[in-house]
């Protein structure tokens, strides 16, 4: 329903997302990557909040021009801290549709309607996140763009919010660095590194058998109960300005990586790595 076609995004003159083609398909789509990889920037473009400097965002096969109709159909779910600190949460939920009964929306996301008169700081993190979800659902959207919706929550609250999100019938694009969350909510995933999609494919397969060294590093960085913590490099992550952006960190880098790899299809996966077939 929503597609980025050869999209390049920039802040000022600094491009942060390069030539990305990505479609939001049914079953949930995950966008995985470290901080600064361009996930949120891409989400802002999908929400119509940022115009591409190159390429186009298509909605229903047509370029995104009539934002009025689009606004009601695609809604963001930001982090729990995304509520106006001065506005009572009931008013935040009812902002788009004042006539909508707030109580039923609050009940639908597992909130006590009596909390409607409170301000965000008077609620717990989990309650705030539910308010954010209720606000997005108020306009009955077709697609939710979830930007790190559980990253500021503790694990037990996170589990309850995931349960709530998994139960929604709305389509979703989930932006996260948490592989466990993406494996639960998304059928398809894309891995973003330095503003480029380096690997795409069915989530279960992509996480079980990563074909890009960066995806593999992400997978190995997940701490396991009883296991040893991931090895620290002792240096800030670096990206290469030319060729494969990951090559300065890649244990498999070869001279060919000085040329930028184009994404190639391998089965139902797409991987941008010269050594993808070896992994």
């Amino acid at each position: 329903m929503l597609k980025a076609e050869n999209v390049t995004l920039a802040y000022g003159r600094t491009p942060v997302v390069h030539d990305v083609t990505l479609e939001i398909t049914p079953g949930g789509v995950g966008l995985i990557g470290e901080s600064g990889s361009g996930k949120t920037t891409l989400a802002r473009a999908f929400l119509g909040l940022l115009k591409p400097v190159k390429g186009v965002i298509l909605y229903g096969g047509r370029p995104l021009t009539d934002l009025r109709a689009f606004r009601r159909e695609v809604q963001p779910v930001f982090q729990a801290e995304s509520l106006d600190p001065r506005m009572r949460v009931g008013r935040s939920i009812a902002e788009a549709r004042p006539a909508m009964p707030v109580a039923s929306l609050m009940e639908a996301v597992g909130l006590d309607p009596a909390l409607a008169g409170r301000r965000p700081h008077e609620l717990s993190g989990g309650q705030r996140q539910r308010v954010v979800i209720a606000r997005a659902l108020a306009v009955e959207p077709r697609l939710l763009i979830l930007d790190e919706p559980t990253s500021a929550l503790d694990v037990t609250v996170q589990a309850r919010i995931l349960e709530l999100l998994a139960g929604l019938e709305t389509e979703r694009l989930l932006i996260t660095h948490n592989l466990a969350v993406v494996s639960r909510l998304c059928r398809t995933s894309h891995v973003l590194f330095a503003g480029r999609v380096v690997e795409s494919g069915p989530t279960a397969e992509l996480l079980a058998r990563p074909m890009h060294p960066y995806t593999r590093a992400l997978r190995e960085a997940v701490p396991e109960l009883g296991g040893s913590p991931p090895a620290a490099t002792g240096a800030e992550p670096v990206t290469a300005a030319t060729g494969c952006a990951y090559r300065l960190r890649c244990p498999l880098a070869v001279p060919a990586c000085e040329e930028r790899p184009e994404p190639v299809a391998i089965g139902d996966r797409r991987v941008a790595c010269h050594r993808a077939t070896e992994l």
């Binding site: 934002l67 695609v74 963001p76 801290e81 106006d84 600190p85």
Partner: protein
Amino acid sequence: MRRLGAFLLALIVLASLAAPWLAPYPEDAVDPLSSLLPPSPEHWFGTDQAGRDIFSRVLYGGQTSLLIAIAVLGSSALVGVALGMTAGYAGGWLRDVIMRVTDIFLAFPALLLSVALAVVLDPTVTTVIVAIAATWWPWYARLSMSVAASVSTRPYVDAARCLGVPAPLIVVRHVLPNSLTPVLVQLSLDAGGVILTAAALSYLGLGAQDPIAEWGLMVEQGQSLISTNWWVVTFPGLAIVLTAFAFNVLGEGLRNALDPRRTVIK
């Protein structure tokens, strides 16, 4: 401390408003034989060069000085915040145009611009208000533009945009309430400065004129006497300092009251 500030400001305002009943002498009652008398039971704050009772003139002067301060700050904030909010939220060319106009006003020394405006207009209290407000609003425009630009990038503003809330409503509902605190604090800090600037204009013959009682004018008229007749300048000066202090404490109180994180669950 906050209550002391509110109490002081209330006292100053009430005393100024009740001047016709509280003042023991008319503000402009000249008595050459009583010139420059020190404080005494007859003249609590002494008398000035023309033999006028300084206590009475301080009470009446509050009306003029507070009127100037409130009118200047109110109109400057209204214009400056409206332009600053528009520039900060809209960004792009509109922000550039508004900010360049603001920069032009800021490039002139404030007092010089006030003097130039006051020369063109008649020397009255209204002239003082217009002249000072014309140089004061750019500061509020610049301050509120920078705060509004920052608030406009917050996720709750993005969320409102995504809900299709019209831009003017987003500014009124989200950007303005979350940008006002520094403006209110600045307003409270500026009150003393406005009164002193009004005094400077009056001294130059471009604002309130004798025999109108105005604190700044009284300070300017008495400054050459500070080593010989200290009371002439001290009491109106104290009135300015106390008023500025009361406004500052009130600003701090407002800042706290407007911080939603300081409210408690009822």
